[in-house]
Symmetry: C2
Amino acid sequence: ILRAVNLNKAFFMGEAIYAVNNVSLTVGKGEFVAIVGPSGSGKSTLLSLLGGLDRPISGDVILDGQRYSKLSENGLALLRRRHLGFVFQFFNLIPHLSALENVALPMRFNRLARTAVTARAQELLETVGLGSRLRHLPLQLSGGEQQRVAIARALANNPAVVLADEPTGNLDSKTREEMASLFEKLNREQGQTFVVVTHDEGLTGCAHRVIHMRDGQIEKIA
Amino acid sequence: ILRAVNLNKAFFMGEAIYAVNNVSLTVGKGEFVAIVGPSGSGKSTLLSLLGGLDRPISGDVILDGQRYSKLSENGLALLRRRHLGFVFQFFNLIPHLSALENVALPMRFNRLARTAVTARAQELLETVGLGSRLRHLPLQLSGGEQQRVAIARALANNPAVVLADEPTGNLDSKTREEMASLFEKLNREQGQTFVVVTHDEGLTGCAHRVIHMRDGQIEKIA
Ligand SMILES: Nc1ncnc2c1ncn2[C@@H]1O[C@H](COP(=O)(O)OP(=O)(O)OP(=O)(O)O)[C@@H](O)[C@H]1O
Ligand SMILES: Nc1ncnc2c1ncn2[C@@H]1O[C@H](COP(=O)(O)OP(=O)(O)OP(=O)(O)O)[C@@H](O)[C@H]1O
Ligand SMILES: [Mg+2]
Ligand SMILES: [Mg+2]
């Protein structure tokens, strides 16, 4: 469902730093892929290319037959809104919207009735243990609570692929296990496709496949 | 060296949420204390009270004999700058300053020569593995790199106490081990006092004492 072909992304700081260096990979529909690797190895950069949030200097990404290189900025924004769910490394919640409104936001572009949207947003927040924090603004939430709102928001639209960058980095072990079993359950029962950058062995353990990155390249696919 | 006496901090969202509920604790000079607990249990709030970044609704904090309740906002700012080092849960680097300048900043208030400040900042960044990222701005760094700059900055001034909130949440296992042995080494060789909120068992393993929080209270001190 998601394919990367010869992706390259470099930053120029006096010399060229290849954050992503000739990376190709294929993600099947319903697959749970984990990406691991040392700090600075290019995982977040790769994820932003897979999500169309950034343009490679060469190579392409194809989601469900759509080539990113053929899409305008608006076309990419539309594709992301409809087909992708994101958990960013720094969560990126909308600061002036409550937890409930943050989770409801991706669904507002669908044809669902307001009540259905609010009900689903509430249900997702209860699933991640935040039923008592619906009206809180991001700044009124703990680090791990913000991270869980971001997870709920990424799942809201039943996206073709969930791209998650360190979704459990700020959680205690019990909550981490709960999030790992949530992902595993959605993958197994609903066929939700996941691409998860993580250091969490609870998550890599659930994955069908673990991709290792080092210095911008894919080391091995185990 | 650091003492909390009957600290209370509540937020009012329709009903009162006691993020910190009658907490008292004592940290000895040269001690390495870890604070663990579920997401939302009050760890970051407690740390912000210990650091004088927030005022409790009752209770007090005493650092090296100085009572926070007796200090003005300016007095607290001065105390923080001179005697405390912080790693925040979301790093809080200055966005328009390079890694080097971010680490140098706490030292600029001392009487050190510019060259000595820059040399120490560079040395600290090399110690956390970022010798090749000195000129990068925070936005040009990976999540784990930003976190390590924040660690280097917290250590820069040889503060009386380092207060760190999830200092390794965004690091891979190898880098996490390196940070844990760095803290352990500074504690053992230089008597650096640490109060570290963490889920990382590599860090709790180094601690003299592990404090457990739950629902705003200290559960047990093991
Ligand atoms: N400004 C605020 N207004 C209302 N509630 C708040 C505010 N800040 C924190 N809280 C609530 O207080 C509780 C404790 O928050 P805190 O950030 O201290 O938790 P934590 O232990 O650091 O959690 P985590 O491990 O997820 O970072 C949380 O349940 C949070 O929702
Ligand atoms: N805008 C930029 N300008 C210059 N260099 C950058 C920029 N963004 C990232 N880099 C560099 O590219 C490399 C890869 O960054 P990336 O954020 O993808 O790493 P990562 O694997 O996600 O790391 P972490 O596990 O620490 O989050 C890093 O070494 C970083 O310093
Ligand atoms: Mg990253
Ligand atoms: Mg916290």
